[in-house]
């Protein structure tokens, strides 16, 4: 089903701006944010709290010869200086990563990337802690670094991970999917094959709030309270229990308001562990908050995929197969957060939105002397790279065929009747209806008029480009039989209590970093129970107060926890039926539900509202056998499949032929995320993601020089787009609900980040057609665009 109307406002709500259930609703969290009353890590102040600072390595690859901490310890305000040696004694020098590797908490043997953690100072205030870093004397023995991922597997390349027994090279994994032979057969007989190396450079999530923690270890009862910037509090608790040996019931993780995550706050960073160690050592709470440069240089980056793409087609434009060979730069430790069986995440969605005969890919992960990570930046577990690859390849094919890129896509879409659609790499797309979304975006853009304008401009030597991208995402990990992180299945719990007066509290395992969970999840309960969202509190971000679940990333909150919350509300509704029946002295099967109320079939005047039932549940009515005296429930939702949001994006750019400067003039984004819970929040997510896309496409790269010095360690060098670089976003939508999700919702958090870079780059390459340009890699800075115009486009790495 595809509809293009906004979800009808609920008549019961009276005021459509305050719906009972789904619809536009201002965020419940906004009053505290706009009044400066948010509570972030750095707002947390505990009695007697000390401050930590990390000494970081100035070089990328060097053996650690010695550390002298005498002078730092003599600083009057310093209480402790912790080194790798101290951690070795505690068996905490190395910690497991989320990808079956280990990462040094503090350097013990050698430095493996610039910015790596070398020592930790705990002092009375953060100024003293920072000053004392300069009093630590470290001697390094320089080693040749491996910076270029293309050279990482060269025979004789320095072995970065000599800490791992038996390691003789820098290969982390080789992973393949699809049928190589079948794909080769299709390529061999195709009319047309085009090949292109497509690079998605290393970028950084750069959340507005950097990472930090306040650790409070109580030596008396051995209890650790850890306030952390984490997107996954429950998973962190389990990992700390395993790593640090503190019993899990003695650990409480609190993730307060989080100033943006984008995947940057999924993993466990050395700084968090060091705050804990600092608190254990000093017996006082310890706060550690990294600065901007530390965040950019040492925490989880994203992308860094060098992709050799190939696409095969018939001469009349039927796409037959896609094949790719990927070199993935994971940095010094394999700390990417991917489901265990998916070392390249969900990259295998590179088959895109097209009905293919065959597909195959191979991904090789390598170590380099760069910061570890690879989890992050709204990537839906590498869907971003996959979509970028296929959408660039389809555009290159269109050029080769001299076919309009929108027309080529329309010709090859998976048809609505083919859903659920099993692609060639093992995904089953739950639902989709691509053509209406594509046509809507073209209509909103005035596509034909734009093409005419472009022709006229070209006659005058002006460079205007129109870029199209169409993406299918795979989000909402996921069915626990397929997806786990370090053995923890990716299911989510939810608990709901309706208080005697009909107000409710829903406790969820996922953690908001700005997505508006407190509003969206209240609206899901509201939709199911018919009580207004403002009567429902959403509790999240505290492991002592919420049920277990895997956290917010990969656009999984609505697909997984959204399902859990809908189901727990339905469970309460079902229970309410039995209680209402007892109150009305009738049989449950004689009752009928209307939003907010059970009533007697055939006699709507006789019924009980949820509030009345809640009071009854806690009151004096005799309850039927097996019904507890409350209106509470809990569930754990294990989704049967992932969900597959999609969208059609069109970008219009103007390029200054004299300077190579790109102006994004218009951007049309049509998204289909299934059922739309709060369209205002959806639009916010889309606006943010599109802005991210402009950043990546035009200006962002975490760059290194040959020695491994990070050249992008501040916002003067790592550029964040501003309102001046983005146009007024033109958003539209279609609605194709997920057939298996309890409310048909699919997830929207990363769609725009995934879908926008290819649209922008396609538009730029389109603009440069008169110069014979068929491809250029991001970031499309003025200099790089100009080089492409000179026929000298070069990869960024």
């Amino acid at each position: 089903m595809t509809i293009t109307q906004e979800h009808a406002p609920n008549p019961a709500a009276g005021d459509p701006s305050r719906p009972i259930g789904f619809g536009r609703l201002q965020r419940k969290e906004d009053p505290r944010f706009v009044r400066g009353k948010g509570n972030y890590i750095d707002d947390i102040v505990l009695p007697g709290m000390l401050h930590g600072a990390i000494l970081r390595a100035p070089v990328a690859h060097a053996r650690l010869v010695s550390i002298d901490t005498t002078e730092a310890l003599a600083h009057p305000k310093v209480l402790a200086v912790i080194t790798g040696k101290d951690l070795q004694a505690l068996k905490l020098a190395w910690a497991p990563t989320l990808s079956a590797d280990v990462q040094a908490v503090l350097v013990t043997d050698k430095v493996r990337f610039q910015g790596q953690e070398v020592a930790f100072v705990v002092a009375e205030d953060r100024y003293a802690a920072r000053d004392a870093l300069e009093l630590i004397d470290v001697e390094y023995d320089m080693l040749p670094p491996v910076i270029d991922a293309r050279r990482a597997l060269d025979p004789g390349a320095p072995v970065i991970r000599d800490d791992i027994e038996g390691r003789t090279d820098n290969r982390i994994f080789d992973w393949e999917i699809g049928d190589a032979a079948e794909t080769e057969a299709v390529f061999a007989t195709a009319d047309l094959v085009v090949a292109q190396e497509v690079v998605y450079p290393r970028v950084h999530p750069a959340p507005m709030e950097t990472c930090g923690a306040v650790a409070d270890f109580d030596p008396v009862d051995g209890r650790l309270t850890l306030y952390e910037t984490t997107q996954a509090p429950h998973a962190h608790r389990t990992l700390y229990a395993i790593v640090a040996g503190i019993p899990e019931h003695k650990i409480r993780i609190v993730s307060p308001d989080i100033g943006g995550g984008f995947g940057n706050k999924v993993g466990i960073y050395p700084g968090y562990v060091l705050a804990v160690v600092g608190s254990i050592v000093t017996g006082k709470p310890v706060k550690w908050v990294e600065d901007r440069s530390e965040n950019l240089m040492s925490t989880s980056f994203a992308r860094d995929y060098i992709m050799q793409g190939e696409i095969a087609a018939t001469k009349d434009g039927k796409i037959l197969a896609v094949r790719t060979n990927v070199l993935a730069d994971h940095g010094a430790f394999n700390a990417t957060a991917q489901p265990t069986k998916n070392p390249a995440g969900f990259f295998s969605i590179f088959t895109g939105s097209y009905d293919l005969k065959a597909a195959y890919c191979k991904v090789t992960g390598v170590y380099t002397n760069k910061a570890p990570g690879g989890v992050a930046y709204a990537c839906s577990f590498r869907v971003t790279e996959a979509v970028y690859l296929v959408e660039r390849m389809v555009d290159i094919l269109a050029r080769k065929l001299e076919m309009d890129p929108a027309e080529l896509r329309l010709k090859n879409f998976i048809k609505p009747e083919q859903f659920p659609y099993a692609n060639k790499t093992g995904w089953v797309y739950d639902s989709g209806n691509y053509e209406p979304a594509m046509r809507l975006s073209m209509q909103m853009a005035g596509y034909d008029d734009l093409r005419r304008e472009q022709l006229e401009k070209r006659e005058r030597g002006e460079l205007m480009g129109i870029g199209v991208s169409f993406f299918t995402e795979t989000v909402g990990a996921g069915p626990r039989k397929h997806f786990d992180i370090v053995g923890l299945g990716m299911a989510d719990g939810a608990e709901l209590r309706v208080h005697p007066t009909g107000k409710a509290v829903v406790r969820i395992s996922v953690q908001s970093q700005g997505q508006g969970h407190e509003t969206t999840f209240a609206q899901i309960v509201a939709e199911e129970l018919g009580i207004p969202p403002e009567s429902i509190d959403v509790v999240h971000g505290d492991t002592d107060q919420t049920p277990f679940g895997l956290g917010t990333y990969g656009s999984r909150s609505t697909p997984v926890s959204g399902g859990a919350v809908a189901l727990v509300a339905r469970k309460v509704r079902e229970k309410a039926k039995f209680i209402a029946a007892a109150m009305l002295e009738t049989r449950p099967e004689d009752l009928e539900w209307e939003k907010g109320r059970w009533f007697v079939k055939g006699d709507p005047s006789v019924g009980k509202t949820i509030a009345e039932i809640a009071f009854g549940a806690h009151g004096t009515v005799a309850l039927p056998e097996g019904i507890d005296g409350n209106l509470d429930a809990e569930v754990t939702y294990d989704p049967p499949n992932l969900t597959f949001p999609f969208g059609a994006y069109i970008c219009v750019v103007d390029v200054d032929a004299g300077t190579g400067h790109v102006k994004v003039r218009r951007f049309i984004a049509v998204d289909d995320c299934g059922t739309r819970i709060n369209p205002m929040i959806i639009e916010g997510q889309v606006h943010g993601g599109l802005t991210d896309g402009v950043g990546m496409a035009l200006m962002q790269i975490i760059a290194f020089d040959e020695e491994g010095n990070c050249l992008s360690g501040s916002f003067m060098d790592y550029l964040i787009p501003t309102a001046m670089e983005v146009p007024d976003w033109e958003t539209g939508f279609t609605v194709t609900p997920s057939p298996h999700h309890p409310i048909g919702a699919k997830g929207i958090g990363e769609s725009a980040t995934v879908g926008s870079p290819p649209a922008i780059v396609n538009a730029i390459v389109d603009a440069l057609t008169p110069y014979g340009v068929t491809h250029m890699d991001m970031p499309c800075t003025p200099a790089r665009v100009w080089e492409a115009m000179q026929g000298r486009a070069r990869p960024p790495v």
């Binding site: 750095d42 953060r126 100024y127 920072r130 000053d131 300069e134 908050v289 600065d291 901007r292 440069s293 004299g658 300077t659 190579g660 400067h661 035009l698 200006m699 760059a703 050249l711 992008s712 501040s714 003067m716 060098d717 550029l719 787009p721 501003t722 001046m724 670089e725 800075t781 003025p782 200099a783 100009w786 080089e787």
Partner: protein, 292 residues
Amino acid sequence: MQIPAPFDYERASDVANALVLLERHGPESRIIAGGHSLLPMMKLRLARPEWLIDINDLAELDFIRREGDQLRIGALTRHTTLLESADVAELFPIIRDAEQVIADPVVRNRGTIGGSLCQADPAEDLSTVCDVLRAQAVIRGPDGERIVAMSDFHRGPYETAVAQNELLYEIRFTIHPRSGSAYEKVERRVGDWAVVAAGAAVGLSQDGTIEEAAIGLTAVGLDGTVPEAEATLRGRQPHEDLFIEAARIAAAVCHPVDDQRGPVDYKRHLADELTRRVLRRACARAAGAQEG
């Protein structure tokens, strides 16, 4: 949060007091004006002054005055004030052109012309602007006041004629009839420092030939203006071919370096392209001034 090394701080009450404080606290004391260059460097611990002498209370340094054939601008005049000044827009449109692309409103509300010139970053836009307008710097020190031409003011990257115990007081611009000026910058993002920028100022004679010309380039390792190109322009009628010729010379004499903003050949290309653009606009403006 990035934290500077320890320092002490004192607020000056007037210019004389500022000079006394600089003398008293010695060689490791520094003036702080808008703080938008000095504080970032201190936070990165690239600068470690022991004393900061704050001149933000010195209203006497915050002025734009038109006197005779001169426009006088106090060192503490903020970017925003320059951007919004009608006199500046009318007399020296190059300043407004530049101010529109310097940093962002937050920085412009605090950053000052004096700080910009004394910082002398090779990518500083106002340095080029002052070069092109052949401005004069008024410097106050323990021995009184001296006036220095821009060509003597710049002493290389991050170095100027202002000694540690001195203060930049004022910048003076001479008003010429039938003149026009323009500035254009290529940046990777709004608020970014220039990849390359160019500025030009011209004065036309009665018959419309170019009488006086100045060309400056930002962020390409040029000291001062480009006399060779300026000589080519003088005495000739403004014309596209002439702009091309002058721009080619300017591009050839600069010394860009390869960095994150772009390779040498691109920057040289921009020097050429942007010089043509600003010459075109400066001449058009001068012609407009002539008519009006």
